[in-house]
Amino acid sequence: MKLWKYLLRRILYVIPTLIGLSILIFTLSRVLPGDPARMAAGPNAPDWVVEQIRVQLRLDKPLWEQYIYWWVDLFHGDLGYSIVSQRSVTADVIEYLPISLQLILMAAFFEIIGALVLGVIAGRHSYKLPDNIVRMIAYLGVSVPSFVWGILFLLVFSSLIPLFPSHGMYSPGTIPPPRITGMPALDALLSGNFDTFFDILWHMFLPALALSLGAMAQDARIIRAGMIDNKEKEHVALVRGYGIPERLIFSKYILKPSLIPAITVMGMDIASLLGNAFMVELIFQWPGFSRYGINAMLNKDINAIVAVVLVIGVVFAIANIIVDVMAVYLDPRIGRRSQ
């Protein structure tokens, strides 16, 4: 099957799911007990202020009407008024989302490099000491929650051994780079502020590492299992018999097919990165979208909560489609199977 056809089908399939998600979270945000207008006004505000906010949020209208208005606004590029930031949620998404994506991309980078190194070491020396060490690391990575890593890193690498900053994105006194893409690290690079670029990377190191370890461990285990499996395959013995250099056998016949299962589970990794970012950004006071989301949630800012869930849903869907297309590109059988 053609790759673009597969891509199109995936996109068409995901649209109704996302619409369903919008109905689900929108309904929940309006139906569940609790009074967002009262929360926004504060416990001592007079009733007419609460009523005013209720009208402003359209909470006085029936549910279906609110939902239709929500769509009308969405087509105008407006996700609703945020109680916390006192402006349109769209502006918040544009400001904070790239800052989180930058962190997640760095975590994904760590994850891929770490998983490859650990997985290959374990796979090459299977059932020997390196393999056992990697296996212990992998179990720790999978079992220790990212926020526990975050707190441990904070204690060890920031307080005991002051190697890294404990919070924020810039050192005090740093001038933020001009906004080009919205990702400060990339903007700093594009505008030639290398000091700022390295400053951001330095601030990003611990949170990205804490975020990546769980997914890294999972992938390392899958790559290891794949390599051990592929080493025993008959075609590997055959090419070895032909006298193909061991390095080529390793990269082409053992490593490459072992990466495909790792790629197919990367969708799950993205889920864990997007979810765990909420705790990690909180610990390291990273000024990103997840921390904005937590703020919105703690203040019952319904428009922002709906937007946070949906934006993450869209990011997750796009990332999953990219991963799936990559997997089909590497192994066309996957595309045929899913038909």
Binding site: L24, L152, L160
Partner: protein
């Protein structure tokens, strides 16, 4: 023995060949470690009032004279900002973590499994498609994000956290059962049952279901760790259990305010969460290997 035979009226347990599985399970030292870790956590949770050195410190309790004491012989894990024994609170914390896992899985597995069986069996019909499309909606967002959002829309509490996690956890079971059922329904034993005039319900629950017990059991054990992680994350953010509940996630978050000076307040509960999840993962992998290998 009569009781066991009655319990196993349909031969499901016998079909699992548990003796053989146990033999395989206990040969792996990691699996045994997992079993011991998990059992120790369960025992500590059940007997918390007797195991904990200061059981009265679990709830509202203040002793400012002893606040923020570092680990010592009297307080192995030190004391927190109210002078409460961190070890005692951690032991009580196991209760909330394990209760979370037990309640969520009890609520989630039956409906998830039944929906998955129906969806897999009627894969071509609208009912099967509808169920799977609805399940897809709940899976369209990372579980933690949806659970956080739902918790935030209600009043944060242990109970609401359990409900929120349950609400978005069932689709994983539906999906698992759907995959197994839709491949098993093409097997000859299902055709044979159909030929003899068995009803669809009979085929689903008595022919297909017993064959899914292995993967199902594996998934349930592995999920114990995930649910505990999710519950701890919710309360860490402040959208789950509320103080003074001795919940591990809440304790980590409260103690994090006192890092690095009073590190023991958050680090020990954090390690306790990792301990219990590690145990559940090792146990789950052991069961998986026993059933698959």
């Amino acid at each position: 023995m009569k009781f066991m035979a009655n319990l196993d009226k349909y031969g499901w347990l016998k079909g699992l060949e548990l003796g053989k599985k146990w033999y395989k399970f206990r040969r792996s030292p990691l699996s045994i470690i997992g079993l011991i870790v998990t059992l120790s956590a369960i025992i500590m949770a059940i007997f918390a009032p007797w195991v904990a050195p200061y059981p009265e410190h679990a709830g509202f309790y203040t002793d400012f004279a002893n606040a923020n004491k570092s680990p010592s012989w009297e307080h192995w894990f030190g004391t927190d900002e109210y002078g409460r024994d961190v070890l005692s609170r951690t032991i009580f914390g196991f209760r909330y973590s394990l209760m979370m896992a037990a309640v969520v899985l009890l609520l989630v597995v039956p409906p998830g499994v039944i929906l998955g069986l129906i969806a897999g069996y009627y894969r071509e019909r609208w009912i099967g498609k509808l169920i799977m499309r609805i399940a897809d909606i709940f899976i369209a967002v990372p579980p933690l994000v949806l659970a956080l959002a739902i918790c935030s829309l209600t009043t944060p509490s242990v109970f609401n956290a359990m409900m929120a996690v349950s609400l978005m956890w069932w689709p994983w079971y539906t999906r698992l059962m759907y995959n197994i059922t839709s491949s098993l329904k093409e097997e000859y034993f299902v055709y044979a049952a159909k030929v003899t005039g068995a009803s669809s319900l009979y085929i689903m629950f008595r022919e297909i279901f017993p064959n899914t017990l292995g993967p199902l059991l594996t998934k349930i054990t592995l999920d114990v760790g995930w649910v505990i992680l999710l519950g701890a994350s919710l309360s860490f953010v402040g959208l789950g259990a509320q103080p003074p509940t001795p919940d591990l996630g809440t304790m980590v978050a409260d103690g994090a305010k006192f890092l690095p000076e009073y590190w023991w307040i958050s680090i020990f509960p954090a390690l306790a969460i990792s301990y219990i999840i590690l145990g559940a993962n090792l146990l789950g992998d052991g069961i998986k290997d026993a059933f698959e290998g």
